[in-house]
Amino acid sequence: MLKTILSFVAMTAAAAATAPAQAQATLNQVKARGSLNCQVGTPTAGFYALAADGTWSGMDVDMCRAVAAAVFNDPKKVQFQSVTSAVRFTSLANGESDMLSRTTTWTAVRDTQLGLEFAGINFYDGQGLMVPKAANIKSAKELNNATVCVLTGTTTELNIADFYRANNMTFKAVTAENENVLITTYLGGGCDVYTNDKSGLAAIRSAFPKPDEHMILPETISKEPLGPVVRHGDQNWGDIVRWTLNGLIEAEEGGVTSANVDEMLKSTNPAIKRLLGVEGNIGEGMGLTKDFMVRVIKGVGNYGEIYERNVGAKTPVNIPRDGSLNALWTKGGILYAPPFR
């Protein structure tokens, strides 16, 4: 019920807000303000987390910083707005946030009916299942008649129901509103399976007393492409966010890192020359400068660096990248940026 009301509000807000948004381009507003208003969610490990010293970090936080570095010469010129997911689209539609970078799934309804524009995909997530290793289960197909711990009122709940129906199996759901309650239930043996997005499962598992005793099954039962979102109607601003993201991926593919970006300016590779603005004029066409990607890479690194820093093997979240969808297309994943030309 609340969701229906909120999405209705978001729609009316979107309808009402397109007029003032068009009146003044987002880029000009951001430049005039001197900082980017970037919306993240309530803290989530690996994507937008608060540290004890009060700084933000995470995949999506670095996306905000990258855009700030593209617009200004400073990745720190971001004001992070932490908003609950219930009001995220309204807060973007009414102009309060310039962009939204907060593990939001790209869906048809959101893209076409809420006045939103998805600027790309910075993380391919999908719903997974976690079971205790002791249960000796190797595939989700073996989970007939299982009890499943699932957060209530989320798409996760619908996805698991779809999965079981599609496979002609039955399950018993154990639901809770609060993640911590659900985790305690699972650890206490209250359910056989814990289901959530795979990125979330990795983080949850890393907080278990003995993470090695649990495993995430290979199946992915839903598609959750996550990416930054902007308001519909300001194409130029959407381009800036989209090509900043594409630039990060392109930089990894070309081997440009925050450490070697200055040397790479002398590179003879035409793709890298165009990416860094040595050749061509992509940046100025969007209202930025030629070398905007140089600033971005110096500020936050390339996609691979961002991944390793926030959710890589050395972090507590530890989402394996090799062989996953989030590997570059050259390495077996589906991360693929259109060419910079």
């Binding site: 003044q24 803290p43 004890a52 010293d53 009060g54 609950t84 102009g95 911590n180 907080a207």
Partner: protein
């Protein structure tokens, strides 16, 4: 001296006549005194009562021992990440270091750590300002109290917010500072026996008649204001946007505003609703009913996400301000109904007696009716205040980091991932301290005013 003589005389008189002297009281029977007797009468008077006692003891023991073993015996006090805690004790003991490193965030939010002294000084300022209210020889307590409520926000908002200030802003801060200086000087001069500060200053300037005193008193106040302006212009603080305000500090700012605003606003609304003038009564009733029949979370939502739609593009109203206004309006609607209830408890005779004395509406309300009504309403008013302190947790929906949302963020910090029980325990204690202190203060206030007995 004279008194002593008299008693010794009486004693001599008593010795002369044989009078009745009662025997010394014998001690009570042994089985009615001492620990065993108390136990027998209170805890083990019958078999069911004894069983209940044992059951209660068992419940208390199991809860307390579990709590102590989790929070103290098995707890980890030295660790650099949750993983370290989990490897040491698993889930059987608390992991306190996570809460300890987050304490600055829990108290001050994301306020720049090198500027935190401003919040501490703000708190100190408030305490010093209110201190005269507890000094027995200070007479101007009411006006000092009012000056705190009205002027402290002016001074504190610059202290907390900082940044460049135009001349209006400078003047307002100076007014706040003048109020503070005046309160301090008045308290000092009154407790040293010099009477009100302004009169003292006027006399020192050679005022003789009452008229001269008033005139030069005003001059002294003006001088104080000039000093304040001078101080304020020299005073430059870095700008700290409200976006980074958070934790206990934010909780207290929002609830503090709501508490101080809701009482006067509630009184005005309640009087308005009872007014015989149809327009005023209709307006007040509409406001009260509108805000009372909508949940606070909806009001917060409307103020935060719908308001920007109705404002022209580019006009940004501060998010914290919107939340404060929403909470204030909501709280005053509730307060209005409590005040109205209190007003209705005053017997008609009081109104009639006040009219018979020739008092007008405002006089009878402020001198006869309101003081009695407010006295009866203390428990309800404090109930609302306590509720407000806890309701402020709802501002997390609009993205403000109050104490609760700060505590929740700990579980999402990669270093302390999954740590939620310990922070919740900690903020439970913090909320308890504040709410319990408020309720104790209201009890003592009730006792002092004798509100319970006098009816």
């Amino acid at each position: 001296m004279a008194k002593e003589q008299k008693t010794s005389g009486a004693a001599a008189g008593a010795a002369a006549f044989k009078t009745f002297t009662p025997m010394a009281a014998r001690p009570a029977p042994k089985d009615l005194t001492g620990v065993t007797a108390w136990l027998r009468t209170n805890l083990f008077s019958s078999v069911p009562s004894a069983l209940l006692t044992f059951l209660g003891l068992w419940i208390a023991w199991s809860v307390l021992s579990a709590l102590v073993s989790w929070g103290w015996v098995n707890a980890v006090f030295q660790a650099s990440s949750r993983r370290e805690c989990l490897d040491k004790v698993g889930l059987s003991g608390a992991c306190w270091p996570g809460v300890v490193v987050w304490i600055p965030n829990l108290i001050y939010g994301l306020y720049p750590k090198d500027q935190v002294w401003r919040i501490n000084w703000g708190a100190l300022l408030l305490i010093v300002w209110l201190l005269p209210l507890w000094l027995p020889r200070v007479q101007s307590k009411i006006i000092i109290g009012f000056s705190t409520v009205l002027l402290f926000p002016l001074l504190a908002s610059y202290l907390f917010l900082g940044g460049p200030k135009g001349w209006i802003w400078t003047a307002l801060i100076a007014v706040g500072l003048t109020g503070f200086l005046w309160s301090l000087l008045t308290a000092a001069s009154e407790s040293l026996g010099g009477g009100p500060f302004l009169r003292l200053a006027a006399r020192l300037m050679g005022a003789k008649t009452a008229e001269e005193e008033a005139q030069r008193g005003r001059l002294a106040l003006l001088g104080l204001f000039a000093i304040a302006v001078l101080l304020v212009t020299q005073w430059n603080l870095d700008f700290v946007p409200t976006r980074v305000w958070g934790g206990l500090f934010l909780t207290l700012v929002i609830s503090g505003f709501a508490i101080t605003f809701s009482l006067p606003a509630g009184i005005i609304l309640a009087l308005g609703r009872r007014s015989k003038m149809p327009v005023i009564s209709l307006l007040c009733t509409t406001f009260i009913e509108l805000f009372r029949s909508v949940p606070l979370i909806t009001i917060l939502f409307m103020f935060n996400t719908m308001l920007p739609l109705f404002l022209p593009a580019g006009v940004e109203v501060n998010q914290l301000l919107r939340a404060i206004v929403a909470v204030c309006l909501f709280a005053s609607a509730y307060m209005a109904e409590i005040v109205r209830g209190g007003l209705q408890a005053i017997p008609r005779g009081q109104y009639e007696a006040a009219s018979a004395m020739g008092l007008g509406y405002w006089q009878s309300t402020s001198l006869i009716i309101m003081p009695q009504a407010l006295k009866i309403m203390i428990p309800n008013i404090v109930g609302i205040f306590i509720g407000l302190l806890k309701d402020t947790t709802l501002v997390s929906i609009v993205g403000l980091f109050d104490l609760l949302s700060m505590a929740r963020a700990i579980a999402r910090d990669p270093g302390w991932i999954g740590l939620f029980l310990e922070p919740m325990f900690f903020i439970t204690v913090v909320y308890f301290i504040f709410c319990f202190a408020m309720s104790q203060y209201s009890m003592s206030l009730e006792k002092r005013l004798g509100a319970g007995e006098r009816r």
